[in-house]
Amino acid sequence: MKPAPFVHHAPRSVEEAVSVLAQVGHDGKILAGGQSLIPVLNMRLASPAHLVDINRVTGIDQVEVGDDAVRVGALVRHAELEYHEGAYAALPLLRQALVNVAHPAIRNRGTTVGSIAHADAAGEMPAILALTGGVVEATGPRGAREIAAVDFFQGPLETSLAEDELAVAVRFPRFAPGTATAFAESARRHGDYALAGVAAAVTVRDGVITDARSSFVSVTDVPSVLDLTDVVGGSEPGTADWAAAAEAVRAHVEPEADIHATADYRRMLAGELARRVLCQAAENAATTKGSSDR
């Protein structure tokens, strides 16, 4: 099918984009990579009267690696972040997750910020923003503000961004020294949306786990973080009760059934994937003592 008619706006700056958004407001949609929006338009599940195409906006296409965080501009494509060596060194979790986002042709066009603004709990990057305790930098007619991940994701495909606000960038904070991460998911075909996916970050100091948390793909309504420090904290990575951690994950997730998998199967998958990634992250944290580069 084809999209319904719309008026195309091609602002060149963030200011211009915001002023167009202020005019078209609730009848407008931002177009970034279009890899989620255009299918919806093609199927006429939505027909906004105005599209604010940000692909020509200057100054929002940078990946900036700082001491505290990796900052990703709204026009950075998934593939650019995936291949960014500085971002990988600072936060390997980004690449660990990005290789699972769709297929390369879609990663070449889709943006990481767009994926977070789309807030699909089946998307990898919303889960990563949640796990890192990230921040969305938004700008709108009422000025600029920063929204923490916990306040950003409100419901399925629902965020606290106003209709006339542009997410200019997101910041993924780096983990504390001694932390390692891992990501795994199970999909029917590599590149498809996951049946279940789990990201883990584990901190080890002086041989014992001091922090362990995970976030989830496709098995919760809204990206969420489960703190497992109470379950495995104080243990050595080799002897920690990973089965108990997996049980806590199974209790936390709320998968839905669809034609591909039952809710029970997804819950089982989430538990098993969690056991594997937590264990792997803990072992890596133990062997790369004190370094946050892994």
Partner: protein
């Protein structure tokens, strides 16, 4: 709602296969339809129109992308390579039928990488770009490289063979080219 009778049009100029091409189209014209209907380059195929099948894959500034998930207005001033443009690649060579073919095209012909050919343009653009990044893939890597494209004739075994053969042909031709310019 926008009034259908007064739908705005845009002059869109895109460099397609090395040639600047212009057409006047509404903003909602998908790049796939722009190529097929407005520019009459029907090599790019359209299967699903939601990014899943890969038949519409073209190279935008050298990188594979879904032309059904882009608007022609957004592609303004960008460089597009469609399947028709692959035969102009520096490593394309005349084949038995007299047409010029790039390594991927030649390999698909040799290895029976196509049956009805509907999915083939998307596979050829995808594989051409992939081999730039990974010139000698393993069988497993070749399989993964094409996992974003669907073939209803289910010729995957031969398509995987074609990817591996394309890599060989490409390497041979690069060596020949290097020899010629030495």
């Amino acid at each position: 709602m926008t009034d259908m009778t007064t739908e705005q049009v845009h002059d869109v100029t895109v460099n397609v296969n090395g040639v600047p091409r212009t057409a006047t189209v509404p903003a909602r014209r998908l790049l796939s339809d722009f190529l097929r209907h407005d520019l009459e380059l029907t090599g790019t195929h359209v299967g699903c129109e939601h990014g899943v099948c890969g038949a519409c894959t073209v190279l935008l500034d050298g990188k594979p992308m879904r032309s059904c998930l882009m608007f022609a207005v957004t592609a303004q001033d960008h460089r597009i390579t469609t399947v028709e443009g692959l035969c102009d690649a520096p490593d394309a060579r005349p084949c038995a039928t007299g047409e010029r073919m790039n390594p991927a095209q030649q390999a698909f012909a040799e290895c029976h990488g196509l049956q009805c050919g509907f999915c083939t343009p998307g596979f050829l653009t995808t594989v051409t770009a992939y081999l730039e990044e990974n010139p000698s893939p393993s069988q497993e890597e070749a399989r993964e490289a094409i996992s974003g494209n669907l073939c209803r004739c289910t010729g995957y075994q031969n398509i995987v063979k074609s990817v591996l053969r394309a890599a060989e042909i490409r390497t041979e031709r690069l060596e020949e080219n290097a020899g010629e310019s030495a």
